[in-house]
Amino acid sequence: MMHCTMEDLGALQAGEGSVWARRHIITCAICQAELEALYQRVAQLKALPTLRPPRDRWPAVRAAMNAERVRRRRSWSAWGGTLAAAALLAGILLVQPSILGQSGNLHAELIQAKQQSATLEDSLHQYDIDGCVLSGHAAAVVAELEDRISDIDGTLATLAQRNVGERDAELIQLWQQRVGLMRELVTARATRARYVGL
């Protein structure tokens, strides 16, 4: 007599057994016992004791997490330096309308936003970013702002691959957002610097 395979039993357990298996299990005591054993094994597996980590890994997680944050912050700071140079070049171009030609208001707005961002970037460097101690709340605000700026920088990098005509309006919007966030960041840092008397 043919009996259910383990796959048949698994399917029966899941309520998906074949017509043959569903008929067979009704009349076969051996397969009924196997199915019952399967149910019991699963129940016993669920009842196995919870295994706990042998040591505290939080210090390692925290160290890695903070290292990543520092890396990310340096990365967008480096971006900022590049952007400052780009803004400087853009400023030179701005005072030479003949070079700019017919680029129009969009370019002017873009250059202005970049200059503002570069100025704010310079202001930020007046504060010791890595050295000063922040309260939990201030650190959270600063981290949030830095993350948002980092996101914008990522998008700016992506946009740089596209044609100039397609991206100008979007670039201006992003740069203006960046300027807004940089202002908030400078304010957050400046407030903290005044507070500790830097």
Partner: protein, 176 residues
């Protein structure tokens, strides 16, 4: 292991803002279930510890993407199981060797009447992963197949083979 950990929304919000104390609170809430899941799927405790650490670094990186859809534990568990499965894939040679070994491994005769935990420990990591995710965590074969990058029938046959081995090791008798 079906777990329903309640993490207050305010902790999640603070963690999303980068608050270290809130991130630690999340870690404390989930360290044991994540380790348990990884340890049940993986043979070596040190691998499970690494998965615990990798999982939380991923949680920290992506907590802002968590929008509150579904239970937070479900989201964390998904990351943990993916990390554990990646480790199994990375150590594929070891897993394949284990997969082909006789149930119970060398030196253990069939019908040694092991207890379930010891028998389960003797399964290959691939089999352990499928059994644990399906039978204990309640994943469907479709979900397991997707996470493992395999077919649904692979997941089903792994589960059946693993149960057949467990059954033989536990010596319940009366093979179908």
């Amino acid at each position: 292991m079906t777990v329903a950990f309640a993490v207050p929304d305010v902790i999640v919000a603070r963690a999303q803002a980068g608050d270290e104390a809130a991130l630690e609170a999340l870690y404390r809430a989930f360290e044991t279930p994540v380790y348990n899941l990884a340890r049940r799927m993986l043979r070596r405790p040190e691998d499970a510890e690494d998965v615990l650490q990798e999982t939380f670094l991923e949680v920290v990186r992506n907590i802002k993407q968590y929008r509150g859809e579904g239970h937070l534990w479900g989201w964390v568990r998904r990351i943990a199981s993916t990390k554990a499965l990646m480790r199994i894939r990375r150590d594929q040679v070891r897993a394949t060797e284990s997969l082909d070994e006789e149930p119970g491994g060398p030196g253990l005769h069939v019908g040694a009447n092991l207890d379930l935990e010891r028998a389960f420990d003797r399964l290959s990591e691939t089999s352990r992963a499928v059994v644990w995710l399906h039978d204990v965590e309640g994943y469907t074969h479709e979900e397991i197949a997707e996470q493992m990058g395999k077919s649904v029938s692979f997941s089903k046959s792994q589960l059946a083979r693993a149960h057949a081995r467990l059954r033989r090791m536990l010596d319940v008798g009366g093979a179908p």
